[in-house]
């Protein structure tokens, strides 16, 4: 169904952050005697009651398997599942619900493209171009598929400021390049890449553009048609939605031409012992019973975000990031990776002197402040900067300046413990 004919999302209201926080039950817990300060949103966000309750209601009133049942509950579940797909399609401005495939997470979405499109279209002499700032989920599938098909994997280097090296990029993008896969926002450097421009560069040499939107979809407007992306992947759990579901957007003509990825129920039109015919999109790529409750939960999540407006979300996070950027720079020996706050998303990965990030995170945790420490599934970035790990604080719609202050105070404590 054409998305343009759908009713508009509900009218935007602009609640205060205090009102938003009231929707998130987990923000009321205490950690080691302190109120939780949740700054690990890049890894996974928390969920509002609207999302939790949508799934609750589904299991209490609407559950059955979808698509094949003629009875009331199956029709109800089918409608709810397909309505969820429509709302998610609208959220990313997809032209059709046929272009929205449910997967488990960003990782599976990217593997689907690599296995299905890659196996059919790559061979020796072809090149796959990715970047040095990718998450492992946008590296390893390409390593695997290049090994299977004999194609060559190349990396766009990053500069010391944590941005793509555009000169190198232009040299690396050639008519041998069949795929250019890159992240819309780095989960370590925070760098927001110019997706539209990068897609155009890929298209200029005849390559398809695969966008890892795991970090951008939760935090800014995603318009797949304006971006002209061929494929775009994201995860529900990072954007207020449940675990267990992700999305792959793909252009319809590409998806039509691709062989299926997994085989099984629902993805076939006809199974004869001698062979099978595939079903229409998007079902061709959704083998087996799908994550029904999770699709409904994700739809509630994107409604929640739409209601705030993605512009508000980005703005709120930018303000926090600017504030945090200043406050963190007050701390001697603290070094933040990546570009300035005006060109990054709401996350800050840093090192604090030579205190190991695990120790930083452990001490912050004792103060109730949750940050992540490690290589954040992006070893090549850390290799580039010759550091094994970083600590990372990341913001979302419910975070406040007071929480940034608590982060800073806790960092001073860490320095005190390790002052030697």
């Amino acid at each position: 169904m054409a998305i343009s004919t759908l009713p508009e999302p509900p009218v935007k209201t602009m609640p205060s952050v205090a009102e938003i926080r009231a929707d998130f039950p987990i923000l009321d817990i205490e950690v080691h005697g302190h109120p939780l300060v949740y700054l690990d949103n890049t890894a996974s966000s928390q969920k509002p009651i609207q999302v939790i309750e949508a799934m609750n209601r589904y299991y209490r009133e609407q559950h059955a398997n979808v698509h094949r049942g003629i009875h009331y509950l199956s029709e109800t579940a089918t409608s709810a599942y397909e309505d969820a797909r429509r709302r998610i399609a609208r959220f990313i401005h997809a032209g059709s619900t046929k272009e929205v495939i449910f997967t488990r997470n960003t990782t599976e979405s990217l593997n689907l493209v690599a296995y299905s499109w890659g196996r059919a279209n790559l061979g020796p002499g072809d090149e796959v171009l990715i970047t040095e700032m990718e998450h492992h989920s946008n590296i390893v599938p390409w390593q695997i598929i290049c090994e299977i098909t004999g194609a060559t994997l190349r990396y766009v280097p990053i500069t010391d400021r944590g941005e793509l090296d555009y000169e190198a990029l232009d040299a690396l993008l050639t008519e041998r390049t069949k795929v250019f896969a890159f992240t819309a926002m780095s989960n370590v450097l925070g760098t927001i890449n110019p997706v539209e421009e990068l897609v155009a560069k890929a298209h200029a040499v005849g390559a398809i553009a695969v966008v890892d939107a795991a970090q951008s979809a939760p935090h800014m407007t995603t318009d797949v048609q304006a971006l002209d992306a061929d494929f775009l992947a994201f995860s529900s759990h990072k954007m207020l939605g449940p675990t267990g579901i992700g999305v792959l957007y793909g252009k319809r003509d590409l998806l039509e031409a691709m062989p299926p990825f997994m085989g099984g129920g629902d993805m076939i039109r006809e199974v004869k012992m001698s062979g099978s015919r595939w079903n229409d999109l998007p079902y061709k790529f959704e083998a087996g019973t799908p994550a029904i409750a999770e699709a409904i939960g994700l739809a509630a999540a994107v409604d929640y975000l739409s209601n705030l407006g993605m512009d508000w979300v980005l703005q709120h996070e930018r303000e926090l990031t600017e504030y945090a950027w200043e406050r963190l720079h007050e701390i001697e020996g603290l070094r933040i990776l990546g570009p300035g706050p005006e060109r990054r998303g709401g996350l800050l990965a840093f090192v604090l002197g030579d205190i190991h990030p695990h120790d930083v995170a452990a001490i912050l945790d004792m103060e109730g402040v949750a940050v992540r420490a490690g290589h954040h599934c992006a070893q090549p970035i850390h290799d580039h900067f010759c550091i094994p790990a970083t600590s990372r604080a990341s913001f979302y719609i419910y975070n406040t300046r007071e929480e940034v202050d608590k982060l800073v105070n806790a960092l001073y404590k860490a320095k005190a413990v390790f002052a030697f």
């Binding site: 169904m1 029709e75 409608s79 006809e270 229409d280 079902y283």
Partner: protein, 126 residues
């Protein structure tokens, strides 16, 4: 139940119109509903752009078979261009019964097969 299985639906199901095959049809197409296995074949004879003879064959539920039977009556004498503009609403109006989302696929199968035969496999009419 009375709603879904109105007398005219059951009548078309019991006594399908234009069921069988044409000799040398201009258009012939067969497809199945992947969710349930219902099968429909549609055959047309054209005079220029106009349908001058039509037949269907198939196996399936009362809804898909009655829809096919009614559809053959509906399109006889119409032009392909008129048929191209037919959609879900026309089928629902033709059947005159309330239909849920899963059963809708049964109801729309004949039109889908017809359109696929005339213009190549397209979208499920939605």
């Amino acid at each position: 139940m009375d709603d879904l299985y109105r007398a005219n639906i059951l009548d078309h199901y019991r006594h399908p119109r234009n069921k069988g095959h044409l000799e040398n049809p201009d258009i012939h197409y067969h497809d199945v509903n992947p969710f349930c296995g219902d099968e429909i074949t549609m055959e047309l004879k054209l005079d220029g752009d106009r349908v001058v003879d039509v037949a269907f064959d198939g196996k399936g539920c009362a809804i898909s078979q009655a829809s096919a039977s009614m559809l053959t009556e509906e399109i006889l004498g119409k032009t392909l261009d008129e048929i191209r503009h037919m959609g879900k609403e026309d089928i629902l109006e033709m059947l005159g019964i309330p239909i849920g989302p899963v059963r809708l696929k049964c109801a729309l199968l004949p039109l889908k097969v017809l359109k696929a035969g005339a213009w190549g496999l397209e979208d499920w009419p939605e």
